[in-house]
Symmetry: C2
Subunit: 141 residues, 2 copies
């Protein structure tokens, strides 16, 4: 995994690329799916959880990650692939397997838009499907 990539991403979003932040960004990049704080903790043993937490908070403020709630174990974080700093225009559908408790990105399924009633201003959208993933279906029926 290319370190330059993470650095570029951080700088592009106006986040100073410190060693911790690069590690967190790389972990998210490598995972290719949304990770929870706890999952990041187990992946990056060299950083304290408070450090990871603060990195994520910063990323969130700078629109570098978006936040996914899957009802599994709290929220998950996913790198924004959008090039727009203000809006998350790459939003896709997520799938949470209730058996293995993994969250999948269905990258090529865009979230179908809805029209909101007058006065509601949209910022972000979450489209979360829950059920059983192919692996678990094969194994358990």
């Amino acid at each position: 995994m290319n370190e330059q990539l993470s650095v570029k991403l951080l700088e592009h979003h106006g986040v100073k690329p410190t060693s911790n932040r690069i590690l967190v960004a790389k972990a998210l990049e490598t995972a290719q799916r949304p990770l929870s704080l706890m999952e990041l903790e187990t992946r990056i043993k060299t950083i304290d959880k408070s450090g990871i937490f603060r990195a994520l908070t910063l990323f969130r403020e700078h629109h570098m990650v978006h936040v996914i709630e899957d009802g599994g174990d709290g929220v998950r974080y996913e790198l924004c692939r959008s090039h727009d700093d203000e809006h998350d225009d790459d939003m896709h559908v997520h799938f949470f397997c209730e058996v293995c408790r993994q969250t999948y990105c269905l990258d090529n399924i865009k979230i179908p838009p809805v029209e909101l009633p007058g006065g509601f201003v949209m910022n972000t959208v979450n489209y979360m499907v829950k059920g059983m993933c192919p692996n678990c279906r094969d194994r358990r029926g």
Copy 2:
């Protein structure tokens, strides 16, 4: 708010209608929007939070409520209006206002369906929009 209605609902889902459960069901019915455990606690002062929690757990097991994650303060619970005990066929879009932290039901906006890749089995869906509600927009621009 009619007590009979809550009792009917409980019985219909195979939950014995005890006084606590009726109170929790009534609170959800009255609210007309998803409530968190904490919100229910402040609304129903006569029941301990553990009692509310256990009622909600039971409701969930009997498909009497569905669970909404809005990233606000943990999960919220909403009465199922569906008459199907197994599937939530009344799923509509929810809106979470990031200013006043309220969750709205957009009842007449159904969740647009997506086609899942092969092997994924859908159970439930959450479509959550975040942004600013009309009230907050008027007040703060």
